[in-house]
C-alpha cells in the first residue's frame, strides 16, 4: 500500500513538473507572439520588451504605456526588466525561441552594432522620420547609422560631467575650475582627510562606470583610440603625449579622492556627493534627481561643470545615451507601430520618471512646454538642465564605444574588455609610469582586436 502511494505521489510530482514546463512553454509562445497562440483577447499579438531601465518608476511607465496600448489596439505589451549587462545574452539566448523579445531598451551602442551584424535588427529610419527626422535628433549625433540605415531610436542623452559644491568653493574663496591646474587646486583645497572630506571622486573600479566617467579626462585632451582608418593610435607620436598628460592629471587628482574610489561604481559617485564626503563628483543628470529625492538641502548648493581642458579653452564630457532597438520577429511591424506610438504619446511620461537624468534626445522635446513644466525640470532648469544642453552643444564629446569613424564592433570590444579601468588603476593605485601604461594598453587593444 505504502509503495503504491509513493509511486502515485512521485508520478504525480513528475507529471505536474512536466506539465508545468509544458504549460509555461506554451504561455511564453503566446507571449512572444512567435508561433501562434491567442494571448490577447483581441488580436493574439503580444510584444515583449526587454528594458535595461530597470528602476521601478521607469518600468511602471513602460507597463502603464503597454496597458494603455492594449486597451487601444488589443496588442498586448509586456515589459521585462533586464540588466544592461545581461541584455545581449538574453536577446540572443531567446531569439527564435518562444520567449524571444520584440524590442529592447539599451544604453550601449555595442548591442546595436553586434545585433545588426547578426542581422537581427529592423531598420527604424521610418520611425525617426516620423518623429521629426535626423535634424530633431541634434543632426543625428547619436543615431549611429550602419551602412546608411538607423537601427535604434535614442530617447535620451546621459552625458558624464562634473558637479561641484558651490558652498565649499565659497568657503575656500575659489571658483569653478577652468583648467587642469585649477581642478587639482580645488580638489586639494576641498580635502581634509581628518574630517573625512575629499576633493573629488572618480570611479576606478573594474567596470563600466570607469569606462564611462573617468575617460572624460582623456576626451578633454583630444585623446582618441582609433584614427579614421581604424588604426589604434593611442600610442602614436601625436596621441601618446596627450594621453600621458591626461593620465598624469588623474594621478595628481588621485590623492584627493576617498579610498573607496578604487572600488567605486555609480552608487558611490552619488552617495559620496549627496553625503557631503566629496566636493566634486562626475555623473549624469541622475544626480540632480537623487539630490531632489534624498537631500534637498543640496538643491541650491551645486553647480554643473564640464571637464576642463588643460589650458582652459574648452570643456569636455563623456557621451552617453539610451535608445530602443526593434528585433526582426514575426511581429516587427506591430512592434514598430507600438514604439512609434510610445515615442509620440508616452515618451514624456517615461522621461518624467527621472526628468533631469533622461535628457531628451530630441530637440523638439527639449523645447516642449509640457516637458519643461515637469517639476524637476522647472526647479533645476538653470542649475541642472540648461547646463546639460550647453555641454551638448559646446563640449568635446566622446566615449570609448563611439570612438572611431563610424559605429563599429571594434570600439565596443574595447569598451567590454575593461582595458581602460585597468589603465587608470595602474596609474593611480599602482603608481606606474603613464607612458609605459599607454604603450601596454594600446598593444593590448591591438592584440584583442587581432584575435576577433
Amino acid at each position: 500500500m505504502k509503495k503504491t502511494v509513493s509511486i502515485i505521489l512521485s508520478v504525480g510530482l513528475l507529471s505536474s513538473m512536466l506539465a508545468g514546463c509544458m504549460s509555461s512553454g506554451k504561455k511564453t509562445t503566446q507571449a512572444a507572439g512567435g508561433t501562434g497562440g491567442d494571448a490577447s483577447p483581441k488580436s493574439g499579438i503580444t510584444i515583449r520588451i526587454a528594458s535595461a531601465e530597470t528602476g521601478a518608476e521607469a518600468m511602471k511607465a513602460l507597463t502603464d504605456a503597454g496597458a494603455e496600448y492594449e486597451k487601444k489596439t488589443g496588442v498586448k505589451v509586456i515589459a521585462e526588466a533586464v540588466p544592461l549587462n545581461d541584455m545581449y545574452t538574453k536577446i540572443n539566448a531567446t531569439y527564435f525561441t518562444s520567449a524571444q523579445y520584440n524590442a529592447f531598451l539599451t544604453g550601449y551602442i555595442g548591442h546595436i552594432i553586434m545585433l545588426q551584424k547578426l542581422g537581427r535588427l529592423e531598420p527604424v529610419d521610418d520611425i525617426i522620420n516620423s518623429l521629426g527626422g535626423k535634424k530633431d535628433f541634434y543632426d543625428g549625433q547619436i543615431l549611429f547609422p550602419i551602412e546608411g540605415k538607423t537601427y535604434w531610436i535614442p530617447y535620451d542623452y546621459n552625458l558624464a560631467y562634473g558637479y561641484i559644491r558651490k558652498d565649499w568653493l565659497q568657503e575656500k574663496g575659489l571658483s569653478v575650475p577652468k583648467t587642469w591646474d585649477e581642478l587639482i587646486q580645488v580638489a586639494k583645497a576641498f580635502t581634509d582627510k581628518s574630517k573625512n572630506k575629499f576633493g573629488l571622486i572618480m570611479p576606478l573600479k573594474n567596470d563600466d562606470s570607469t569606462n564611462w566617467v573617468t575617460t572624460s579626462l582623456l576626451w578633454s585632451n583630444d585623446v582618441h583610440i582609433f584614427d579614421d582608418k581604424w588604426n589604434v593610435v593611442l600610442d602614436s607620436p601625436q596621441m601618446k603625449p596627450k594621453a600621458v598628460e591626461a593620465l598624469n592629471t588623474l594621478k595628481q587628482l588621485y590623492p584627493y579622492m576617498p579610498e573607496k574610489a578604487v572600488n567605486a561604481s555609480y552608487a558611490d559617485l552619488t552617495e559620496a556627493f549627496i553625503g557631503d564626503q566629496v566636493g566634486m563628483t562626475f555623473y549624469s543628470g541622475r544626480l540632480v534627481d537623487l539630490i531632489e529625492a534624498k537631500n534637498k538641502n543640496l538643491s541650491d548648493k551645486f553647480e554643473v561643470f564640464g571637464i576642463p581642458t588643460k589650458d582652459g579653452k574648452g570643456v569636455a564630457a563623456t557621451l552617453g545615451y539610451d535608445g530602443i532597438g526593434i528585433l526582426k520577429t514575426d511581429h516587427s511591424d506591430e512592434t514598430k507601430k507600438f514604439v512609434e506610438w510610445f515615442y509620440k504619446e508616452k515618451l514624456l511620461s517615461f522621461l518624467g520618471t527621472f526628468p533631469v537624468h533622461y535628457f531628451p534626445a530630441q530637440k523638439s522635446i527639449y523645447e516642449n512646454e509640457t516637458w519643461r513644466s515637469l517639476p524637476n525640470i522647472k526647479k533645476y532648469w538653470d542649475s541642472g538642465v540648461k547646463p546639460q544642453y550647453d555641454l551638448l552643444k559646446n563640449a568635446k564629446l566622446n566615449s570609448i564605444d563611439s570612438d572611431g569613424p563610424a559605429a563599429d564592433e571594434r570600439p565596443a570590444t574595447v569598451f567590454q574588455s575593461l582595458v581602460f579601468p585597468k589603465m587608470f588603476q595602474r596609474i593611480t593605485v599602482n603608481n606606474e609610469d603613464p607612458g609605459k601604461v599607454v604603450d601596454d594598453t594600446a598593444n593590448e587593444i591591438r592584440s584583442m582586436l587581432k584575435k576577433q
Partner: protein
C-alpha cells in the same frame, strides 16, 4: 530495522518505484547540469562571438590559446590560493565553533541559531554590508582600529583585497562546516569520551584521538564540498571587487564571466570553464581514491582486531 531495509533485495517489482523517485531528479539534473556541460564542451571547440551567431570550428585552438595565456595561469593560482585559504579557515573556525556548541551551557540554542545567520544572509547583502563596514574613510572597523591608535587598513587595496575576500568568504560559509560537524559530533556517544577521561585523556587528546578519527569521513566530505564550491565561487568576489583592483582578485570564475558574458568570447570562455571543470573532476577522483583507501584500511583494521579478539578468546 534499518539494517533489514538496506539489505532488502531489489526485485523487478521495485523498478517503477525506484524510477519514479529518480526520474524527476534525473530530468532536472540532465537539463541543468549535463546539457550545459556538454554545451560548454561543444562551444570550447568553436570561435563564437555570441550564443546564437555563426561559430567557426577551431578544433583545439582555444585550448592551446588558454594554456599559452599567462592570465589563465595567474588566475588559476589565485583560485587555488583563494579556495585553499577559505577552506582551511572555514574548517578551523567551523570545527572550533561546533565543538563549543556541542557543550551543554545556558543559551546554547540561541547561539546555535545565531551561528547560522551569516549563511542565510544573501551574498549581495553580505557584500554591501561589509563593504560599508570596511570602508577606509567611513567604515566602522577602521574607526575602531583608529580608536585603538592604530593606522587605518585599506581592506580593498591591491595588497589586501584577496585576503579581505577570503575573510568575508570564511565569515559567510563557515556555518555550513559548523552545522555538518556539529551533527557529526552528536553521533559520537558520550561514553567514549567518559571512558577516555577515566583513562586520563585531556580534551586536546580526546579531540585528536576520538573526535577527528570518528568524524574523518565527514571532514573529508566537507573539505571536498567546500573546496569545489569555493573553487567555483563567483558572486562574492565579483560583487566585492569585480576582480580588481588590478585583477588581484580575479579568479577563474571571474575570468570565465569576463570572457563569455562581457567580451562575448563564448568559445574561449567555455574552454576555461571546461578546463576548470576537469580540474575539479580530477580533485573529486583523488578524493574518492583517498576515501576508498581509508574505508579499505578501516575494514582491514576491524577485521584484524576481530581476529585478534578471537585469538585471545581461544587462548
Amino acid at each position: 530495522m534499518g539494517a533489514i531495509a538496506i539489505e532488502h533485495r531489489v526485485t523487478k517489482r521495485d523498478i517503477p518505484l525506484i524510477a519514479s523517485f529518480l526520474l524527476p531528479g534525473l530530468i532536472i539534473f540532465a537539463f541543468v547540469i549535463i546539457f550545459p556541460t556538454f554545451l560548454a564542451i561543444d562551444y570550447s571547440f568553436y570561435q563564437a562571438n555570441s550564443f546564437a551567431g555563426d561559430a567557426v570550428y577551431v578544433g583545439m585552438q582555444n585550448y592551446v590559446d588558454v594554456f599559452l595565456d599567462p592570465r589563465f595561469w595567474r588566475d588559476l593560482m589565485k583560485t587555488i590560493v583563494y579556495s585553499g585559504a577559505t577552506v582551511a579557515l572555514q574548517m578551523a573556525v567551523g570545527i572550533a565553533i561546533a565543538l563549543v556548541l556541542n557543550q551543554k551551557f545556558a543559551g546554547n540554542n540561541v547561539l546555535r541559531g545565531i551561528s547560522v545567520v551569516p549563511y542565510i544572509i544573501p551574498v549581495i547583502v553580505v557584500t554591501i554590508g561589509w563593504e560599508w563596514m570596511l570602508d577606509t574613510d567611513t567604515g566602522i572597523i577602521n574607526h575602531l582600529i583608529a580608536s585603538l591608535g592604530l593606522g587605518k587598513i585599506k581592506f580593498l587595496s591591491t595588497n589586501m583585497a584577496m585576503w579581505t575576500s577570503v575573510m568575508l568568504s570564511t565569515w559567510t560559509w563557515t556555518p555550513f562546516v559548523t552545522l555538518v560537524f556539529l551533527s557529526g559530533l552528536q553521533t559520537i556517544s558520550h561514553e567514549v569520551y567518559e571512558s577516555a577521561m577515566l583513562d586520563g585523556a585531556r580534551k586536546w587528546t580526546q579531540f585528536w584521538r576520538i573526535t577527528v578519527p570518528m568524524l574523518k569521513d565527514i571532514i573529508i566530505t566537507i573539505v571536498l564540498l567546500r573546496g569545489l564550491w569555493m573553487f567555483n565561487k563567483f558572486d562574492l568576489n565579483w560583487l566585492l571587487t569585480g576582480g580588481g583592483p588590478l585583477e588581484k582578485t580575479e579568479t577563474l570564475p571571474i575570468l570565465i564571466y569576463l570572457n563569455t558574458f562581457k567580451q562575448f568570447k563564448v568559445g574561449y570562455g567555455s574552454t576555461i570553464a571546461v578546463i576548470s571543470f576537469f580540474i575539479m573532476f580530477l580533485a573529486m577522483l583523488v578524493y574518492l581514491r583517498i576515501f576508498r583507501e581509508n574505508q579499505a584500511k578501516r575494514k582491514y583494521l576491524r577485521r584484524k582486531s576481530r581476529n585478534a579478539e578471537k585469538g585471545v578468546a581461544l587462548e
